[in-house]
């Protein structure tokens, strides 16, 4: 019995050590290495911010970051305003349409990006095709599989039907019910969906490149071909931004969860 216990705890520890080593070599080591490398002076003598200042002075850095942020925010907002009422409707009324909508929302993951980009672009009105704002709609589409699931989980965690009925019987309209009761109750899910769409949009490369628009990811590829240390600084910058974004999501969803409480 005692030796069994020792064996199993030994086993546990060796797994933990192995996983940590693997994670360190594959994940943390490259990050540390490239972080150090990005601060090196060209030629290898000493450390400075020179690669980062080079980055900031590159033509197109700020405009591309600005474009990406703008499109990502718009995509996040559009996605939420489209999906929240849809998901509330699907969860509140019969479930008949739900599998269909679920299927449609999964499609962006299944359809090859090239077909998606070209096909969906052809379906857009021409005034949209000529502006970078067409990307917002693509970003909304690629965000659908994730927002569907996030919002669905959030809505299933609350007793949607009785909350809606309570609100209605107290004299509230549908709009009031959604804004004052449902949205606050699924706040965690909504912020999660918002940030997922935002993160996906910020990092989207393939469609943007296929349709010849310049956003931060496409600019990165071009810029990094000119300066190797600058390219590394760029990847460290992107990585740190992504981590910061993820941390924000985690923080917001936790806050939302706490507000809703646990015993419903």
């Amino acid at each position: 019995m005692a030796s069994n216990l020792r064996n199993s705890s030994l086993q546990k520890w060796s797994i933990i050590i192995f996983a940590s080593l693997l994670g360190f070599t594959l994940f943390i080591l490259p990050v540390i290495a490239s972080s150090i490398y990005s601060f090196q002076k060209p030629g290898g003598k000493g450390y400075s911010f020179i690669s980062y200042t080079w980055l900031l002075h590159q033509a197109g850095f700020f405009p591309s970051v600005g474009t990406s942020l703008k499109l990502a925010v718009l995509a996040g907002i559009l996605n939420i305003s489209l999906m929240v009422p849809t998901m509330v409707y699907l969860n509140f009324t019969g479930q008949k349409l739900k599998p269909l909508v679920d299927f449609i929302c999964i499609l962006p993951l299944v359809i090859p990006v090239v077909s998606l980009a070209i096909g969906a672009q052809n379906a857009m009105p021409s005034f949209l095709q000529n502006t970078q704002y067409e990307l917002v709609f693509f970003f909304v589409i690629i965000g659908l599989p994730f927002t569907y699931r996030t919002l669905d989980t959030a809505l299933q965690a609350i007793s949607l039907k009785t909350l809606v009925e309570a609100s209605r019987s107290l004299g509230a309209s549908w709009i009031r019910t959604i804004i004052r009761v449902i949205v606050p109750a699924i706040r965690g899910g909504i912020t999660g969906a918002l940030f997922l769409t935002f993160a996906l949009s910020i990092g989207e490369y393939t469609i943007t490149s296929l349709l010849h628009w310049e956003t931060f990811p496409t600019w990165t590829v071009v810029a990094s071909q000119q300066n190797i240390l600058g390219a590394i600084a760029l990847s460290v910058f992107s990585f740190v931004s992504a981590i910061a974004l993820l941390a924000t999501v985690a923080l917001f969803s936790k806050k939302g969860a706490r507000q809703v409480g646990v015993d419903q």
Binding site: L163, E165, A166, L170, G171, Q259, G261
Partner: protein, 351 residues
């Protein structure tokens, strides 16, 4: 919000039916709830009582039939325009709003000014004795407190009719009777017309003016609790309300033989053969016999003023009797006793 300030409403359902596909949940319900009256709809799950309540609330649409409040047709009135306060089994407080905000939710929807809202919230908190919890969130409250907030929230809008959908089912036994009495006290204090749905006969009998027993979407009997208990019109009502002994016996003509005594049959006259006679525990008298009686005592449980005696007849039937404790103190398990029925008329059901 005193009894004098407000006019109570009459609620009337005429032939209200509801079908879900091929299933008839409600089958032509006729019901009038008088102003200030508390009527309970009692029945097993699936009897249509909740459907009836939801149709009154406007959360469900009647397939046929009409609904009136104070003589005004309500079928087409939207749920949020009906002015009905509803209390749900699952409390369904808004989790993101605190107690005060929950109570004032309906007032905000009615665009009532903040000073008046604050005054009403204070009144409601006092009514349910939760003044100290005004700023608490629902998840910080116990089940009983949450249900009191739900009641205050429903009453804050001065509803025409108060609808209670199994409001006590999610609470534990002790809190249940406390909230039950509180609901009745408040209902009487405000004189508000109330429709109360429950599957618990004790709940229904203790606080209602009238109780309607439902089965298969129909109202079997509606009357004051005393009549339901003492004069059930059908075996279904007799079984559902209160405790009932089923004594196996033989019917011949209009009488049955119970413990050697001929008793008139109240329902299904002219039945012959094996039947069960339905007898309340308090209609059975247990007396000690020196010789061999017609039953043996299994247990006697002291309940205070009365005691429950469980006996087994020579034929093997288990009979429950309820007697004043001072008359049954000398009855002990294992003893031979004689059972008697103190009734002139009895309901029977076919076996």
């Amino acid at each position: 919000m005193n009894k004098k300030d407000r006019v109570s409403s009459t609620l009337e359902l005429r032939g209200v039916s509801r079908n879900f596909g091929p299933v008839t949940a409600l089958d032509g319900l006729d019901l009038v709830v008088a102003p200030g009256e508390l009527v309970a709809l009692l029945g097993p799950s699936g009897c249509g009582k909740t459907t009836a309540l939801r149709i009154v609330a406007g959360l469900e649409v009647a397939t046929s039939g009409e609904l009136f409040v104070n003589g005004e047709r309500y079928n087409e009135v939207a749920a949020n325009a009906r002015d009905m306060g509803m209390v749900f089994q699952s409390y369904s407080l808004f989790p993101n709003l605190n107690v005060s905000e929950n109570i004032e939710y309906g007032l905000r929807a009615r665009k009532i000014g903040s000073a008046q809202r604050a005054k009403r919230v204070a009144e409601m908190l006092e009514l349910v004795a939760l003044e100290s919890k005004a700023k608490s969130f629902p998840h910080q409250l116990s089940g009983g407190q949450q249900q009191r907030v739900a009641l205050a929230r429903a009453l804050a809008i001065e509803p025409r009719v108060l609808l209670l959908d199994e409001p006590l089912s999610a609470l534990d036994a002790q809190v249940r009777s406390q909230i039950r009495d509180e609901i009745r006290r408040i209902q009487l204090e405000l004189g508000i017309t109330t429709l109360f749905v429950t599957h618990d006969q004790e709940e229904a009998l203790t606080i209602s003016d009238r109780v309607g027993v439902m089965s298969n979407g129909r109202l079997e009997q509606i009357d004051i609790p005393d009549v339901l208990y003492n004069n059930p019109v059908s075996t279904f009502v007799a079984n559902f309300v209160g405790t009932m002994n089923h004594i196996p016996t033989i019917a011949s003509g209009d009488t049955v033989d119970i413990f050697g005594k001929k008793i008139r049959v109240k329902n299904s006259k002219g039945v012959n053969g094996s039947v069960s006679a339905l007898v309340r525990p308090e209609s059975i008298e247990v007396t000690r016999t020196s010789g061999s009686g017609n039953a043996k005592i299994i247990t006697r449980s002291f309940l205070g003023a009365s005691s429950q005696i469980i006996c087994q007849t020579a034929e093997g039937a288990v009979i429950q009797a309820l007697m004043p404790s001072h008359e049954s103190g000398d009855l002990h398990p294992g003893e031979d006793v004689t059972l008697n029925v103190t009734l002139n008329e009895v309901l029977v059901s076919h076996v």
